[in-house]
Structures are given as C-alpha cells and as structure tokens.
Amino acid sequence: MISALLFMLGIGAVCGIVLSLSSKIFYVYEDPRIAQVENNLAGANCGGCGYAGCSAAAEAVVNGSAKPSVCVISGKEGVEEVARIMGVDAGSAESRLSYNYCEGGFRADDKYHYMGISSCKAMSSVYGGRRVCSVGCIGLGDCVKACQFNAIKIGQNGYPVVDDDKCVGCGACQQACPKDIIKVTTLSEQLMKFNQTQDALAPCAQTCPAEINIPKYINQIKEGKYKEAVKTIRMRNPLPLACGRVCPHPCEDECRRGIEDEPVSINQLKRFASDFEMNSGSRIPIKCAPDSGKKVAVIGGGPAGLSCAFFLRRIGHKVDIFDAMPKLGGMLRYGIPEYRLPKKVLDWEIQGILDLGIKSFCHVKFGADFGLGSLMASGYEAVFLGVGAWKDYSLGIKGEDLDGSFTGIDFLQRMSRGEKIKLGKTAAVVGGGNTAVDCARTLLRSGLDTVYMVYRRTRKEMPANEVEIVASEEEGIEFVFLAAPTKIISNDTGKVTQLEYLKMELGEPDASGRRRPEPVEGSETLLSVDMVISAIGQSPDPSFKEQDPHQRMTQLELTRWNTIDNDPATLQASIPYIFTAGDSATGPALVVDAIGSGRRAARSIDLFLKGEPVEPVKNSLQKKRIPESIFTKVPGIQKSARAKMPEIPVSQRLDSMIEVDLVLPEDAAQKESQRCLNCCRICYNPDTDFPMAKANRR
C-alpha cells in the first residue's frame, strides 16, 4: 500500500515537474480569451463542431474563423456568453447581422424539376441548383434549419427573410448556405463591400460608379420609406443632395426599362429622397462602427475627400480634413455654379458629414502651410490625397494674357467666392465640356447680352451633359461649332475685342471614337467679343511636390498628365501610406466617380491601418458589366412616360442664380418609383403578367 502510494506520488511529481518546466521553456503567448471562451464551451471534446475538441474550437472562435455558436451542445446561454467575451475586444465589438443578398426567389425560373431531399446543399450539387440564376437563392431553407434562434424564415417570395431583432449573428446560416446568399456581416463590412462578379446586381447598380444599391432604394421610396431610402443611399454615397442635382446618371443609360421604354429617372428619385430628408428638418442618424483609435488625414475637402472621410469615420477611424479653400466642398462648391447646386444645400450636406465627428481645417494649403512631416508628427497614420484638378489647360494661342481673357475653373471659382470681376457685354467660351457650359450659363446670369460657345467639333461630340446643353440652348446661348480659336485680338489698351478662329471640318474618327476635326485652310473668321474664357480641361496642380523641404514627397510619382500615380485597384500611391482618388488621380471626371473611388480608398486605408496587405477586391467588377445581366429585349413592359423634371421657366432664370431644376413632387416620385422593374442579376418584375416574359428574355 505504502509503496503504491509512494510510486504514484513519485511518478506524479516527475510528470508535474517535467510539465511545469516545459511550460516555462516552451512558453508561447496565447490570447487569454481562448481560455475564457473554452470555459464556456461544453467541455465534452465531442468534436460535434467539426473542430478537434473544445480548445481547438475556442481558438477558432477567438481568431475569427468560427462563430460564437460553434458549440453544438452549449445552447443559447453559452453562445451569448462566448459572444460577450468576444465583444469585450473593441475590434470585434461591432455587432454582426445576417444579411440576405438575393431577392429573386420565385421570380427566377426553374431549370429542372427537383425531386431530391429538401436540402439546398444536396440540390446545389445538381447543376448548382434548380433556378436559372446561377448566384441566386435555391429556397429550400438550409439557413432556416441552421438557425437556432428562429430568426430566418423563407418569405412568400421564395427567399429567406431575416428577423434582425432575433438574429445574434452566429453565422450558422452562412455556413449552411451552399450559395453564399446569406452572409453575416458587420456594418463596416457592408460599408466596405464592392461589387463583385458573382453578386446579384441589377444593371444600374453595376454601372453606378459609387455602386449604390439602386433597386433597393427605389423600392423603399415605392413603399413610402423615404428615410430608409436615404440610409440605403448613404451606405455608398455621402453626398446624395449634391449627386441628385449634378450627377449625369450613367446608371439610367443601363436601365433595363430603357431597352423597351424610357429609363427610370433614377437620379431624380435620389434627389427626391434626399431632399425629403433635408426638408423634413431633422437629420437621419448615421450609424458608425466603434472607434478604432487610428487617425487619418484627408487632404482636399472635395467629393473624393469627403467620401473617403465619411466612410473612414463610419468604420471607426478618426478623420481630419484639410482644405486649401475657405470652405469645404471642392469643385462642388467652387466649380459648380449656384443655379445647379445651391450653396445652402451643399452646406447642409457637408455639415451632416462633419457631424459624425470629423474635424475640418480650411484655408490651409498642402505643401505651403503644412507638409507630410507635420502630419506624421501629429500622429496621422495614413494620408488621403484628394486635391482635385484645378489647373486649367491653356489654349496655347496668342493673347491669353490680355485683359478680358480668363480660364474656366479659375473664373467659376472666383465667381463662387463672390469676387467682383469686371465683365463685358459679349463673351466667347471656348470648349464643349461641363465647365464650359457652366461658365456660359453663369455669364448669362451675370448680365451679359450674348454668350457664344466656341467648340471645335459639333453638338453631337460635346462632352457636356445632354441636359446642360439643352438648358443652355433654351437660355439662348449661341453655339459656334467646328471652330478652333487661333488668336485673341485686343485694342490699344490691351482689352479683348475679338476672337479669331479657324473653321473646321470633321475627318476620320480618332482614338476616342469621335471624328477628328481638321482645319479648313484660309477660313479665319473674327468674332467680336470683349471676354474670352477658355475651358478646355483641367489637370491637377502638383505644386505641393515642389514645396517639400524634407524631401518626403520625392518618391511620390506623377503621371505625364500630372495626376498622382496610383494602383487603380487599391488607389495606393507610390508612397505606401498615401492613397489618392478623385480628379487628382484620374484627371477631371464625374462627382460620382470621385465618391466611389473615395470609398475604395477608404477600404484600402482601413486595410493599411489594420496592418493587412493592401490587396484589391477579389473578382472586383469595377465598372465592368456582368454579361448575363445585360439584355437586348425585355418582354412584359408597358410603356409609361418618365417623370418630367420640373424646372423654373427660362424667363425667371436669367436675372438670378436661383436653382433651375426642381425636385419631383411626392406623387410624381411615387409614380416614377413604380416604373422601376426592381431588377436583379437576371430577374425583374414585368409590368404585365406576360407568360413568355421569362422564357424569351435573352
């Protein structure tokens, strides 16, 4: 008896000593939460979770590869306790919710008649499921069976509907779904989601440079949930008021209704919803993720900078905006005239963004007043450079420095700041883009008698928005097409008196697909004007690179168009902590392009701040189209007229800068929202119950 006791004591002591020694020698740091989580698992080491034992499962929970509900025995209390432990950490405190990406359901046809067991997993092994849509929901409800909290049911339309109040974000449904329809995401993940080739996207949503979920917000407008619609837009676009007014809406060109009928007036609906918020007098609260403790500097408060700052703030980072101009807004404020985007509206919108806790410093110029060194010293871990393209190209002809000769953006910007410029009576605006049209219409409103627009091609080739061209025609701007200025002529006092131009004719198409204008020899013509504004394009002003005493910017590479060189997929510049988007990276482009790329830069900056590799979005769609979603005919459409944009009559426009375009009244917006087919990748709701609608659509 004694010997047995002594033996066991001895062998126990040896084992104990060896283990305690080796635990010192072989010590490896381990997250303390692993032990905490393990204490809340069942402890049966049953392996029912698919992991080898409880400690393996706990480790998987802590490093994020398993969800708090991983244990099949521990039940709801255990799951909640584990979720609470994981919630202690600021990084994962963001609540997760299940989110369904397919709204096709029964709208999609069946490819075959299925008689197998009622399980999505089994059915997906047979040609990827019965429905014609390759990415859509199969509808047999594996997610419903997987949910232990009764939060999902298959709705009457044949796709799962998640009850957000019951969902704990355990992720069981995501694991059960064979088609990636249902996903558990955080707010940050949803904000940083970019269109991918496998997504269920309508053609309009694929086209929108900001990647707004257009069918969703139109549907919300249809249901009268205007505030929800604004929230949907704000998931992708922080400036709906501005965009609703100035966006040339490339989405409408791809509208499926537009194939058979007039496209849905998407942009006016956006404006309607966002104006509804502004006019309602109260701001819709904007949700942000918990603070990350990281700080980012955004240089340039234009649409790209505001968008980047907005999204960085919403995913939890601290953001400060620096701008060279007296107020934020960039080209929105100084490039777009009051009659298109009233300053009052812009102020309201920008204030909403700043209210999220973003600080702004205006009237400080990057390079002149502060540099990269001072930013780094102040604790900014990444820099977004969205300085825009503010330098006008010059015509390169004689007389551009005369009294009465201006450049486009410079002119608009001085007018916007209220500077008193001595204007003449007749003016020629050279160029055919939006800046040129803006200059011409601004001049007309400033009391000039005649404004000519001198463009070297024809109206068809004008790059300005069609609505702008129509409006300027209505307002009485005179167009001089096929004309290339050669000389600005002055009188003895150096005052502009005439513009000389050569007549052109169109030749062969050039690289841009537009027919190249060729001069007609000896066709010099004189146009009597006392002002000439050249608005033939802009480039970024890289002067900040020269004012760089500590040589920090020397590695920043520029392209030959003076734009900041970056990786087009991640928007990271040649200095790793600098990211750039908007006009300063692409040259002059749309506001909505700047907004979309501002968000893309925010994603890259977020990855950079977290220390993860800054990689592009996998299978990113980025302006490409999903071929199967582009139809040539759309059966089941009944023609209905598109809502007409209300505008003030021409007679009232010309003596003031008041806004020309008005917002749709509610009943018109309702009617317009009903024109939307609520498209998805290949599904849509036809107007009529056209029996062959589904079969014939491709």
Partner: protein, 191 residues
C-alpha cells in the same frame, strides 16, 4: 521480420482498433464529418500512439515490474500518456509550429482517447518486445487512421443522401460504422 509484418497486418485490418475492438468511438464519430479533420486526426493519433506505446512499455518494464507495482498499470499509464501529450503539444507549439498547425489542435483530444490507452495495455498483455510494441502501436494507429478516413468519405456522401429524419446524423453514422465493421470481419482468416 516476416513476423513483424504479419503482426502489423493483423493490427491494421483484422484487429482494427476502431472496427474490431470498438475503442476510440468518440473521435470516430466526432471528427469524421469532414475529410480534412479526419486526416488530421488520423495523423495525430499515429504520432501520439507511437510515442505513448513505447513510453508506456518502458514505464512498465523498468518501473512497474522493477518496483513490483504492476497493479498500478492503468492508473500510471493514464498519468504518463496525459503528461506526454501535454508535453508534446507544448514542444511542437514552440519548436515546430508548422507541425503544430497541422496536428496541434487534435492532440488534446487524444489525451482522453481510449484507443491510445487500449493499445498500450494490449502491448503489455500480449507481452510484446519493445520492437513489437513499437510496430503494433504504429499499426493500430494506422488502422485507426484508415478507418476514420474511410468513414469520413462515406459520411460526406451520406450528407447528400435521403435519410429518414429519425436516423439522420449520428444514428446513420453508427449504422454505417457497424456495416463497415462487418465487412472488416471478412479479413479474419487472412493471417
């Protein structure tokens, strides 16, 4: 040499630890849902069993027998195997992280695995020499891995089959295991 080969074959097929002796059922059902897990578990069992089999043989021969406390066999083996697994886990984690990443998560599961304990006790009962004990330990473990991987393959298929509701998951698993065991009975008489 030939004897050792026969011994190994009989341990892998005829006396398969899972299907003939029905030891180690918890990981057999628990870790056989996914092929990936099954392979990992199989490898971990091979690794630990070879070490445990030789260590317990040494403990038995030079401690228990020498001190004439053979009746403490079971108790002391539990202690030795548990400590060994813990030690190996710590060692791998620090020194060979790559191997730990592959096997590490399965190791704690083996601490309380009856298959390991069973093989160690069989080695002593059959009075094998050290080399024989080493070979049987390896062979039993290989048989374990073989059965587990076979079973995982079948279970992955069963997931897609039409199974009556009361028989789903573990029940159909046990029935299948029984049927595999019956087929393994046909190896009897091979040696």
């Amino acid at each position: 040499m030939g004897d050792l080969f026969v011994l190994a074959i009989s341990c892998i097929f005829i006396n398969n630890i899972l299907l003939a002796q029905y030891l180690g059922n918890c990981p057999f059902l628990g870790t056989s849902k996914k092929m990936e897990t099954a392979v990992g578990m199989g490898m971990a069992v091979i690794f630990v069993l070879v070490m445990a089999g030789s260590l317990t043989w040494i403990v038995n021969e030079y401690l228990l027998k020498a001190l004439d406390v053979v009746y403490l066999q079971t108790v002391s083996f539990i202690l030795v195997i548990a400590s060994l697994v813990q030690f190996v886990e710590m060692f791998l984690k620090k020194s060979i992280p790559a191997l730990y990443a592959g096997l590490g998560i399965f190791l704690p599961l083996i601490t309380t695995n009856c298959a390991v304990m069973g093989v160690c006790l069989i080695n002593i009962k059959e009075e094998y020499t050290f080399i024989e004990a080493l070979v049987t330990s390896f062979a039993y473990a290989a048989g374990f891995a073989l059965a587990l991987i076979l079973f995982a393959g079948i279970r992955e298929r069963i997931l897609l089959a039409r199974v009556p509701k009361p028989l789903q998951d573990t029940s159909i698993g046990l029935i299948t295991a029984g049927m595999i065991a019956m087929t393994f009975m046909s190896f009897k008489g091979m040696v």
